[in-house]
Symmetry: C2
Subunit: 644 residues, 2 copies
């Protein structure tokens, strides 16, 4: 293929070259606009800090992403989807979407938001309708044991309605959703890796959540005109019960969350430490912070009953604001100053450092966890002394991934690049070593990267094989599809000396964040156990049971038919339809759709699901199988008769 | 990669070889079960009819599906999604998903089902809530001009609630949904290609829809116990207004629909011509039919007022049942006998033939359209004489695609193969030529294929480059993801002498049917025109307008802020929020989310959307941008204050 030809035909509107696009960046207010990029030096991005390996596109020979028919991928990627509200499972390196996991969104393929079981997880209003049908998932992370994934759970946040969801990795289905009290815009989330005190609990028992938006406390209509009184809380949720354990009030807006391998610390990068309510105010201070939470101290204080509650919530709340934590030896929190309006905090796989990026500063800040511990011990004068490096790495640095070999990879939103840099060299440079070579390489990505994440990079088993760059704009990289472009997850092979772009994978907006997990970690169930469902329908219980105007239809499926060819109810009945799939062959799933009654759901082999609805219109309705099951799938149907 | 190794590690449950799986087919009732496959000869599938090119997996060297980073695909594929309720746009050969188009499903990424504009298209109940949130899309086809795609519209069906949706191909968004009266289980759908009388109207003006399920007419609660009185109708919808033009009652259950290039005929393959209500009855007859509709005669009869109506529907209904159409010279319909329980009808690109496959017969039936015209002219004794070939091609034949070179490709559900056969050779064989070589090649697919479709294969420009096989089971072809496996769209290169499997693409259930369109056909709009939206908010109209307890908030977005930093309403207000995106840069889309109010939607550049909701709880809520727009995207938010 001739690349110039490929990029210039088809559609006049698409003839926007990469440089043309970056020129348009001015219109985005990214350069030269009212918002000055504090701390940005003109030479910071492209000169003197490392050689750019990007020239003409495609800069790199490809190969290495295609997985031949019949072959399996080496890794799973579990990614969030932004305001699509779901989680996604991809195969890597192929980029093939293996599964969508409906979480906060409705999904009529599986019946998520339709079945009684899914509605109970999603949450309903008093009238039985769903409380929410929208969600905004930003971050997904796995549960840990011994510093690496244990394959048990995934946790994912909803920023829109401040919820945490848990996904079982054996079935890859959401089994629990918790709405957090007293917070709004819950953005970052991370599981702990170890108990801070009991080292035998070397696995995930807590999930930490950072709230972004300040709100009145309680948010009941008071203090509406006085944002200075509003506040944001850091929340701890139990991984096993998914109940909220405690909250800690902080200054500033929290963004991402990271946790230490020893269980002692969770941290959140913060912008708007000014506690302002408008854009200018949010950018007034020269530095923002990464706030560290001393988990042991917070839980001791809660245990000692030294907490308050807010409004009708019973969740213990402790005060982690600066003003209340002046003495490091008793402080619950430590605010480490970092670059302006940071947008990421990531833990290095060696367990030593957290890295915060500046967003409005061209720097990454490396924080030494041992020094944070020293601050809490009273051994440092200033929390800033926990910073051991702050290299200039490029414009718009956001998130940092690691290869387990001492290198960090930071996404540069404004430069549309991924920068590879060496942590030890950055530390040496910070100490004054002018010969230190911090920047190793910069690779163009296409375009405007947000999160990046590396294979096993959030574990002690970081293997330095792949890096994924989740880009916010794809522009001319794919066929045009109308005003809303597809977004892109670019896969980069980081196993060699030079980074190698191997694939432009597409992603339905918005691919936000994710983890890449070696396939050996994941152990799935392939068949359900019928007795796991207390409402399973058997030959003994199948049939129609009437109690007044409440009718319970208990149905079984076995290809190619349902257990009852005719089902009769009366108009006005409240009908509960319970369906158990008696097929035992792997993947022999049946569907159950009822025309004009807005009902469709699936039952996997040996699974039971139910729906409840009012039979509010008379007629004959063919209940039919929607999930291909058999050569006579089309003939698999029953007459559902509603008598007038 | 070592293929045996790749397929045997990771998960004990996944160690199911292809042959092992086919062995399990017995449990599916596919062989040796109560349902005998009428007309299947043991040697029909694999012996004597052609050489199988499938041996050890992977049988074919791959290559040819990967599209290098920065390169564009050659084709679009537009596919239906089964009970996921959406349409999808893929790039081919890469298989990358370029877009999900929400149609019958809710989609909280774009706000489909959330905004007033999308709710008006989807349809609401008197209380303003959505009438349906489920759908079951089976078939998607493009509008035509001069026998090929004109790139204007896509039409897609909802079997669940018997709806037809139209998608604009310039914006790739659904703009109209019509619910059909008097029918249930509307399954097949196809646009016409020409007017039957006025040849200057050489483009799509009608969409034909086949209803699968018999129901009482009207379906108001009468005749519930007497299915013999139930009926099914064929429906004609106007492509431009999307209103229902007429319906024609038939015998049997209709399945797929095909249309002739000259506009004279639409046809639907039919199973259950027995008009039975149970499985055994549906399979009693040795042959079913392909029913042809004489469009000109039907419309003359409607024009002449010779029709009835059903219940409260005003749609003209004519009688196309066998008993009422004994005289070919006045008949509206022609029932051509074909193999038992057929599951497909496809038009050959030369305009001469329709091909129906038997499903429960190992045959494909080739119907000569010129002979069908002769039957309607009274020149044939028996409609069966329109059949010019009926080759045995394998077990479980379903759908047929074409390469424009005289060859047909039929999916074999039971054999898990694609069979390539020659139409002229089949006709010669049917005439008695014993030397005719009908079967050219059989290729294993993985597994149980449903629809297949070839590049431009439904047009006169069929180019014989790619064939896609939409398979119902993927089994061991991908990493395990729990009880519900991913499904697969296998891409086959058919440009050479031998078929070549080039990719196992994944698809979220259920990939049902699709079309592959050369990219030159598609001309998209990249930016909206603000004045196309009558409710667009400008600097002059922006602000808050109150009329009693109805409040209209008119908001503008321009990165990185909304036009009002603070919006105030009172608890109990009915709020309409209208948002116009004033950014003009391509793809600079903003989101608008309102926490705890279940609101999220996007506005593309120069687009306007609105939502209406009751401000039923007091407090401060940060209205924020959900669609990445700018380095200060996270800071793009306004305070939405609801006073107690």
């Amino acid at each position: 293929m001739d690349s110039s030809k490929k990029n210039s035909i088809d559609n006049g509107e698409v003839q926007v070259s990469r440089r043309g696009f970056l020129g348009k960046g001015a219109a985005l207010g990214l350069a030269g606009a009212a918002v000055a990029l504090a701390g940005c030096k003109a030479e910071g991005g492209n000169a003197g800090t490392g050689a750019s390996t990007a020239a003409a596109a495609p800069a790199h020979a490809h190969g290495g992403s295609e997985v031949a028919p019949g072959q399996l991928d080496d890794y799973y990627a579990f990614i969030s989807s932004g305001h699509a509200g779901e989680a996604r499972v991809l195969g890597m390196p192929s980029g093939r979407t293996l599964k969508r996991i409906p979480v906060f969104n409705m999904d009529c393929m599986v019946g998520w938001g339709i079945t009684n079981e899914s509605k109970a997880i999603m949450g309903t209003r008093p009238d039985g309708t769903l409380k929410y049908t929208t969600g905004d998932t930003h971050h997904v992370h796995g549960s840990y044991r011994d510093g690496t994934y244990d394959g048990r759970w995934l946790f994912i946040n909803d920023k829109l309605h401040s919820r945490v969801a848990r996904i079982r990795m054996d079935t890859m289905e959401c089994d629990k959703i918790t709405e957090l009290p007293n917070v709004m815009g819950m953005h970052g989330l991370f599981p702990d890796k170890c108990d801070p005190v009991d080292k035998s609990v070397n696995y995930t028992t807590r999930v930490f959540c950072g709230a972004e938006f300040h709100i009145p406390l309680p948010n009941d209509g008071h203090d509406l005109d006085d944002p200075a009184k509003w506040g944001a809380l850091f929340t701890c949720v139990s991984a096993s019960t998914m109940e909220v354990m405690w909250q800690c009030r902080v200054d500033g807006n929290m963004d991402l969350v990271a946790t230490s391998y020893d269980g002692k610390f969770a941290a959140s990068n913060q912008y708007n430490t000014e506690n302002a309510a408008d854009l200018a105010g949010m950018m007034a201070a020269e530095r923002d912070a990464c706030v560290f939470f001393n988990i042991e101290r917070i839980e001791q204080q809660v245990k000692a009953g030294k907490f308050t509650t807010i409004g009708s919530s019973k969740v213990p709340v402790v005060d982690g604001r600066l003003a209340a934590n002046g003495d490091p030896k008793t402080a619950l929190t430590c605010y480490v100053p970092v670059g302006k309006n940071p947008h990421g905090v990531n833990a290095s796989p060696d367990g030593k450092y957290f890295v915060c990026s500046g967003k409005l500063s061209p720097t990454a800040t490396v924080i030494d966890l041992a020094r944070v511990a020293q601050w809490f011990g009273g051994a440092l004068k200033d929390a800033r002394e926990a910073v051991v490096a702050e290299p200039e790495i490029g414009l718009g640095p956001l998130h940092t991934a690691f290869d387990g070999k001492g290198n960090a990879y930071t996404s540069l939103f404004l430069d549309s690049q991924c920068v590879k840099w060496n942590v030890d060299q950055a530390i040496a440079q910070f100490k004054g070593d002018k010969a230190a070579k911090v920047i190793i390489e910069k690779l163009d990505v296409h375009y405007q990267p947000g999160h990046n994440y590396s294979s096993m990079g959030e574990t002690r088993q970081a293997d330095g094989k792949y890096l994924n760059s989740g880009n916010k704009f794809s522009k001319d990289r794919f066929l045009p599809i109308g005003p809303l472009h597809v977004e892109t997850e670019q896969l980069i092979d980081i196993s060699g000396a030079a980074m190698k772009l191997v694939a432009d994978h597409t992603a339905y907006s918005e691919p936000h964040d994710g983890i890449i997990v070696k396939r050996e970690v994941v152990k799935t169930r392939q068949i359900y156990t019928m007795t796991d469902f207390p409402n399973a329908v058997t030959a003994e219980t199948a049939g129609v049971e009437r109690r007044g105007n409440k009718v319970h239809v208990r149905l079984m499926s076995q290809a190619p038919s349902y257990s009852m060819p005719v089902i009769k109810v009366k108009k006005g009945d409240e009908v509960t339809l319970t369906l158990t799939n008696h097929d035992k062959v792997e993947d022999l799933t049946h569907g159950c759709a009822l025309p004009t009654y807005n009902i469709n759901f699936i039952v996997n082999p040996q699974e039971t699901k139910s729906v409840t609805f009012k039979a509010d219109h008379a007629g004959a309705f063919w209940l039919y199988c929607t999930h291909f099951c058999h050569a006579l799938h089309l003939e698999m149907r029953s007459r559902f008769l509603v008598e007038a």
